[in-house]
Each structure stands twice: as structure tokens, then as C-alpha cells.
């Protein structure tokens, strides 16, 4: 009987070209994914203060026990972590993940994850075919785009068998029908590190953090993996039964479902149905559903036009606003620009910030030929493929303003003498640590708190789908909510485990600074660190708070998480146990950030987020709020973050976490309670252990 783990982690030392195995059992207590990756990073990265492009930086690419199994919305997620290249004032040790089939092949090849250390003396790509791991010459690949790179690696692994991939030497057992799963950086990713992503297949991206540049800095172009084995789980029948049980929670579970209740429920699935192309942006030919491995949701599509395949997130919107402004409606420029960001391995979120910043700079009349920001880019043609191609090539080839942008946008603003003004008025839309403004910290407070208390734009939609998107839809489209705000608050608070509080989702002007909201943020940090980022539950599927198919509108969380995980591992982990592992991971990560220089004083938003500036969110934000003794759905759009109250909130949060409220550093007792005494020793050694 298996437990979902393959049993070994691959360690590749690019400097010495040594291939080693690390027993997974050494790290199983962390679950997998991010937790395991952080623990491996802690052990292997000798100097955690190095920059992301230093050979001493360690990158881990991790699956989880559920990778390659039938756990829905989880099987195909892969977690990546390292010290990043994107960020201000400091690129933190950070993470990202992507969907597709990489983690599946990794498990089928017999590996729970990969740890990459050192730097190769010449360009390489890592070729994993089951147990066989080799470093291949990547000299000719380094300047190639991500799609061409994958095609060449596929051909290389196929060998002489044009339709098959080579997995061994025998005539009958030496080939596979599967294409290897490849993760690669874009062309010349080392020149524009903070703006780079890693890409797998057409459109699965580790977008943020600049991990493409980290690859490149190690002289590593790609990792390819082809596996022909399987995953042994503890309770196969139990896993199948759990999957069937979970299907009962699936809104629009099949094409005939009349969707009787309106909502944006997480567990909804549409097996076989193609989602709207590019989020309904533009229909480009016939569509076919596309999903990550073992996922019934099929969020993505492929189109007969070949444009925009697998593009579902921000890259799908990159050119949309410009398309409207230029052409009055979406054109094929929008999916072609989405493809461009994937093909060049550029981070679409940073590109979207560049887009909005250039638009603002044009209004301020400071960018253009001969102006303060002197550029020959065709900024009069924003919205066209021509503009994006020119911008991308300026970044990749380091021409025009490309070298400045490639330093990072905050750094470019500093060089251009525009930082104070543009960051303060929101022209440069970077809401947390130099990451692009995503959902608004002023309204969706848990998004903002989680990001600024962490390492990046959290990009976690647990509350967003239910408490903002669903409720705002109801309000904007004139729907009578199927449940009251009071019932929504009640359901969600029931699912918060030890952080349960009746006021957990009070998004009122006072509520977002409350003790109860600090518990909400703590739950979110701990839940996602374990269940999403270490076990791999997809952010677009989990958590499931409110669900019209559940009993009395109660979603599948937390029963679903436990049933699936324990069916795979055979363990008896409780929901609360998982949250506690998440808390442990969160504290380990925080210790790494502290070693990098983190202090309470740094955990602040840019000026435009605070109420002194008055730049407000542009749309209604209807969320549950407790006002004058009643729960209501309230538009909370018209507010900024109060600086004094934000500081009070941080004190509440630090206290809840067991951190020194003066510094934000964990205390020894907190770390020892989490069996992280060795981490406390290290922080004490460098004089950064929180005062008791």
C-alpha cells in the first residue's frame, strides 16, 4: 500500500553536475509542495541573504502526494520556490505554482520534487526520463522562445521515433505515447529577470517572482520530465468514492444542469464544456475544453484558430483594454498578445503594470521621443500587436527603455525620477512589494493584508470568489441573494477551524482592522500554505465555503480536503492538523524573510492605498459587512486604508501569530511550539529573534 509519495526527491547540482536522491521521508512532515520545498531550501541554501541570481540560490520544483492521482483540482499543480528577482525593496524568498501535467510526469517518473542548486558552467537542460537523469547541452536553446524550446526538447526525447517518446532501450517497452512535460524560461531571460516567467506547455505559467531569470542565472534553460510509472495511494476505493461524493457539490455538474441557483461557487465543474475563450473576451473559432490533469473543471480552452490556447488569466486581458480603446472591441490582437507573453516567457502581470504606467505617463506628457522618458517605442500604437512586439523585444534584447524596465518597475521609476509621484498617485500600480495591483487591498482586505504580511501578491481567491465576485454580481445584476449576508458569514466562520469568529468576514470599514479579521488573515495564510501550496489544491477550485448543492448552502470545505488527502496518504490528518502544518510553513518562510531583512516597518502599502490620497476602486465592491448591528451586503468601494488602524491591525496580527509586535519577528516560544527550535537558533545567532 502506498501513501502517494514517490519516495525520493531529485537533487541536481549544476555546478558539479552531480545527480543525487534525497529520501522524501525526511520531509514528509511538511506535506509536499511549498512546505517541502521551503524545508529543502532551508537545508540546502547555505546563505539565504543572496540575490536571486546568485549561484547559491536554491530552487525547488515540487509535486505533492496527490500529484498524479484522481484528486480533482489538485493532481496537476506544481509548486516552485526560490529567492526571486522581482520585488521592492527586496525580492523575497517566494513561490509560485502552475497547472498542466508537469507534476504528474514527475511522480510517474518516480520523483516527489526537484532541488536545483549551483550554476552550470555552460547552458544545460535537465532531462528526466523515469530514473534516468541527464544534463543536456542547451547552448542552442538559450535564446529561443518557450514554445520552440519545448518542441525541440520533445523532438530530442522522441529520438528517432517521430511519434513516440523514448523511455528505454527495448523495442517493445522503450517508448511512450506521452510528450515530456517541459518547464522552461523564455529567450535571454537573464537580461530581464524581474519580468520573466516559467512556462509549461502553451499557457501554464509561474508568472510572478522572476523565476525565468533564476533559471537563466543558473545556465538552466529547461527541465523536461517523462514518466511511465504510477502513484500508489493508500485507499483507491476510498479515493474514487470521495471523488464521486464531491461531484454532488458540483454546480453545473453536467451539460444538462439548469443552474438553478446563482453563485460563483468554487466546486462547480463543467466536464467537457469549453469555458468562454479568454474569459469571454473574444471567440476565436471552435473551442474545445482543456483542463489540468485529472481536473473536471476545464477552465482552459483550445481554439481552432490556434490563438490564445490555454490563456485564462491576466495574459488574456493584457491587450484587452487597449483593444477596446483602439478598436472599440476585442480583436485577434488580444489572444495574440496573450500568446506573445507566454511564448517570450514574460510575466503578464508586470506587463500589465507597464501598460497602465505608460498610459499614465502619456497623459502626463513625460514619455515619447525626446521627452523625460525618451523612447522610440510605438506608444501611439498601444493596442496593436506591433506595440507589444516592440516592447517585448526591447525588454528581451535590452534596447530603448527595455534595460530600465528590466531592472524592475520600481527601480525604473527611481532611475527616471518618477518614483515618489507615480507610486503615490497610483500611476505606477504596484500595491505590494513591487507586485502589480491585483485585487484591491482597500476593499478585499484579506488580499492586501495577506500580501503585505507575506512575500508577494497572494493571488488566492478563497474569499474573493464568494465574498466579492458572487455578491457583487448579485448586486450589479439585480439578483436577490439566495442566502443572506448573515448566513454567508455564519457558514464561513464555521469553516475557519481554530480561527472561527462570528465576525470573520466583516468587511465593514471597522471590521477589516478587527481581531476577528486578524483571525481570518491567519486562517488564510495557514490554510493556503498547506492545503493549496503544499498539497496542491487548486486556487480556482478550493476552498469551498458556500455551495448551493451542499447541505444548507455549506460547501465541501473542510471535509473534502481531509477525505481526499487521507485517502491518498492513508494518514489521519485532521483539518486542524493541516492548518497547523500551514502555520509551521508560514513561520519557516517568515524566518527566511527575516534573514533577508524583513522588519515590521517594511510591511506597508504604497501611498495610494492609504486614505490620504483618495484614489478609489473603480467599481462597486459589494461584500458582507456588519453595520449598525446587522449583516448586510454593502458596497465598500469608497474607502482607503487608514494608516493608524493598519498599524493597529498589524499589532493584532503579530500578537495572534506569536511574533514580537515591535519587529514582527517570531519569538522562540512560538518557533519551538512549532518544532522549529533550530530556526529560532539561527535567528538568535543573527540577532533577529523576536523578544518574548
Amino acid at each position: 500500500m502506498g501513501n502517494g509519495y514517490a519516495g525520493k526527491i531529485l537533487k541536481v547540482d549544476l555546478t558539479t553536475r552531480q545527480i543525487e536522491e534525497i529520501p522524501t521521508s525526511k520531509y514528509e512532515e511538511w506535506g509536499g509542495g511549498h512546505g517541502m520545498g521551503s524545508a529543502v531550501f532551508w537545508d540546502l541554501c547555505e546563505d539565504k541573504t543572496v540575490t536571486g541570481d546568485d549561484p547559491k540560490n536554491v530552487m525547488t520544483i515540487m509535486g505533492s502526494p496527490v500529484s498524479g492521482t484522481l484528486v480533482p483540482g489538485a493532481s496537476g499543480r506544481t509548486e516552485v520556490q526560490a529567492i526571486g528577482l522581482l520585488g521592492y525593496p527586496h525580492p523575497w524568498y517566494t513561490r509560485g505554482n502552475f497547472g498542466g501535467r508537469f507534476s504528474v510526469h514527475l511522480k510517474y517518473a518516480g520523483w516527489d520534487g526537484i532541488a536545483i542548486v549551483g550554476k552550470a558552467d555552460a547552458p544545460v537542460w535537465i532531462n528526466i526520463v523515469d530514473d534516468k537523469v541527464t544534463l543536456e547541452d542547451a547552448t542552442d536553446l538559450m535564446d529561443m522562445d518557450t514554445w520552440k524550446t519545448q518542441e525541440l526538447i520533445w523532438d530530442d526525447v522522441r529520438g528517432s521515433q517521430s511519434d513516440w517518446s523514448a523511455v528505454g532501450g527495448s523495442r517493445d517497452g522503450g517508448r511512450s505515447t506521452q510528450l515530456p512535460a517541459v518547464l522552461t524560461c523564455g529567450p535571454k531571460a537573464g537580461t530581464c529577470g524581474p519580468l520573466t516567467a516559467l512556462i509549461h506547455d502553451a499557457g501554464n505559467a509561474v508568472g510572478n517572482a522572476g523565476f525565468g531569470g533564476v533559471f537563466y542565472s543558473k545556465n538552466l534553460k529547461a527541465v523536461s520530465v517523462l514518466g511511465t510509472g504510477g502513484v500508489e495511494v493508500a485507499d483507491t476505493a476510498g479515493l474514487i468514492e470521495t471523488r464521486k461524493w464531491s461531484a454532488a457539490y458540483a454546480w453545473t455538474g453536467n451539460a444538462e444542469d439548469p443552474t438553478p441557483v446563482t453563485g460563483s461557487w468554487q466546486q462547480g465543474a463543467s466536464p467537457g464544456q469549453a469555458a468562454g475563450h479568454l474569459g469571454g473576451t473574444v471567440a476565436m473559432g471552435d473551442l474545445r475544453a482543456n483542463a489540468c490533469a485529472a481536473c473536471p473543471r476545464s477552465c482552459k480552452v483550445r481554439s481552432s484558430s490556434g490563438f490564445g490556447n490555454e490563456s485564462m488569466c491576466v495574459e488574456a486581458l493584457l491587450n484587452l483594454s487597449l483593444d477596446y480603446a483602439t478598436n472599440g472591441a476585442p480583436t485577434d490582437a488580444t489572444p495574440r498578445v496573450a500568446d506573445m507573453s507566454n511564448r517570450y516567457g514574460l510575466n503578464a502581470y508586470q506587463l500589465s503594470a507597464i501598460r497602465d504606467w505608460i498610459k499614465a505617463l502619456i497623459k502626463k506628457d513625460v514619455i515619447g521621443p525626446g521627452k523625460q522618458i525618451d523612447t522610440q517605442l510605438p506608444i501611439d500604437k498601444m493596442g496593436s500587436v506591433e506595440f507589444w512586439e516592440a516592447l517585448s523585444m526591447a525588454i528581451i534584447d535590452q534596447t530603448d527603455i527595455g534595460p530600465d524596465l528590466s531592472m524592475g518597475l520600481v527601480q525604473a521609476a527611481e532611475k527616471w525620477g518618477r518614483l515618489p509621484e507615480d507610486l503615490a498617485d497610483g500611476s505606477l500600480p504596484l500595491a505590494y512589494w513591487g507586485y502589480t495591483h491585483h485585487y484591491d487591498p482597500r476593499t478585499e482586505a484579506e488580499w492586501g493584508w495577506g500580501s503585505i504580511l507575506g512575500d508577494r501578491d497572494i493571488n488566492e481567491h478563497d474569499f474573493n470568489f464568494t465574498c466579492y465576485w458572487t455578491t457583487s454580481n448579485w448586486a450589479l445584476l439585480g439578483v436577490t441573494p439566495p442566502i443572506t449576508a448573515e448566513r454567508m458569514a455564519e457558514i464561513i466562520s464555521k469553516k475557519m477551524g481554530p480561527y472561527s469568529d462570528p465576525m470573520n468576514v466583516d468587511y465593514s470599514d471597522e471590521g477589516i482592522y478587527s481581531e476577528a479579521f486578524a483571525k481570518t488573515v491567519a486562517w488564510h495564510r495557514h490554510y493556503t500554505r498547506f492545503y493549496k501550496q503544499s498539497i496542491g489544491l487548486c486556487d480556482w477550485y478550493w476552498a469551498d465555503f458556500v455551495n448551493p448543492y451542499g447541505p444548507d448552502f455549506e460547501g465541501i470545505t473542510p471535509e473534502g480536503e481531509q477525505k481526499f488527502l487521507n485517502a491518498v496518504t492513508g494518514g489521519g490528518l485532521s483539518y486542524e492538523d493541516g492548518l497547523e502544518v500551514g502555520r509551521r510553513i508560514w513561520n519557516l518562510d517568515r524566518a527566511i524573510w527575516i534573514m533577508q531583512g524583513r522588519h515590521r516597518d517594511m510591511e506597508v502599502f504604497p501611498e495610494y492605498i492609504y486614505d490620504s490620497v483618495g484614489v478609489k476602486a473603480a467599481t462597486p465592491y459589494v461584500m458582507p459587512a456588519f453595520v449598525d448591528g446587522n449583516w448586510i451586503y454593502k458596497d465598500v468601494n469608497d474607502r482607503g486604508i487608514d494608516r493608524d488602524k493598519a498599524e493597529e491591525f498589524k499589532t493584532r496580527f503579530y500578537t495572534l501569530e506569536g511574533w514580537d509586535v515591535e519587529t514582527g519577528w517570531p519569538t522562540r516560544s512560538t518557533l519551538e511550539e512549532l518544532d522549529l527550535g533550530y530556526v529560532a537558533d539561527k535567528l538568535e545567532e543573527i540577532g533577529k529573534l523576536g523578544a518574548a
Partner: protein
């Protein structure tokens, strides 16, 4: 809704133009956040507005979207920037009902669609033909 008086050819040309300052709008998309954009003409705003029921929209789950504009601001923009006071008056009548966005949306869309038809008729354009937009 009472049909508006047909504009003169001269007015239709003026009302059809791409104007500055452009009008702010927001593409609300569950999967990727909200994208602010600007629209420069009545035609582009009409194309942007996408009436749908909540059921239709939410059945898309993460791919659901709302193309949002503030109708009160739209009325002011049409009056002050475009200069089509007849259309602005009709928009104001819808806004003054005090309905939520989704209830007003089909009526606003219809108003704009019909007004665009009047522009095209005045300009002697075929229904599918674009009005010239590079003139004031």
C-alpha cells in the same frame, strides 16, 4: 422609451467621433481581477456593454465577467464631451429610475444601439458600416 429626434448629418458626424477625454470603464473578470480601460466613442461604449442575466454570467464561474460603466457618469460624458444632449436626457431618465446596474443595462444598451442607427441613417451609412471617427 420614446424615440429620439433624428440628428442632422452635421450633428451625427460630431456625435460619432472619438472624443477626449475618453470615458472610463472597467472589465470585471473573476479570473484575473478588474481591468480599467477607456472608451472614446458612443459606438465603442455600445459595443462594450454586454447585457446578460446573472444566471448566464455566473454559470461561467471564473470566466464570468461584467463590462461595467457608471451610467450617471456616462450621461454626463455624453452631454458634456460628446454633446448629444438628446441622448443624455434619455440616459438620465433611465438613471433616475434608481435601478441597479444590471436592470438598467439592457435599456442603456438599447438606447445607444438605436441612437447609433440614427447616426448612421443621418450619415447615409449601411447598418453594418462604421461611422467615420477621425473628425470633430
Amino acid at each position: 422609451m420614446t424615440p429620439l429626434d433624428a440628428p442632422t448629418r452635421e450633428d451625427a458626424l460630431r456625435f460619432s467621433r472619438v472624443a477626449e477625454p475618453q470615458f472610463p470603464a472597467v472589465r470585471m473578470l473573476a479570473s484575473a481581477g478588474n481591468v480599467e480601460l477607456t472608451l472614446g466613442s458612443v459606438a465603442s461604449i455600445e459595443a462594450f456593454l454586454t447585457p446578460m442575466t446573472a444566471e448566464e454570467n455566473l454559470s461561467r464561474r471564473m470566466t464570468g465577467f461584467i463590462n461595467y460603466v457608471d451610467f450617471k457618469s456616462l450621461e454626463q460624458w455624453v452631454r458634456e464631451t460628446i454633446g448629444d444632449s438628446d441622448l443624455a436626457d434619455s440616459l438620465l431618465a433611465v438613471v433616475d429610475r434608481g435601478d441597479v446596474f444590471g436592470v438598467m443595462l439592457p435599456d442603456v444598451k438599447q438606447l445607444l444601439t438605436e441612437r447609433l442607427s440614427q447616426y448612421k441613417a443621418a450619415l447615409e451609412l449601411d447598418p453594418g458600416e462604421e461611422a467615420p471617427s477621425d473628425h470633430v
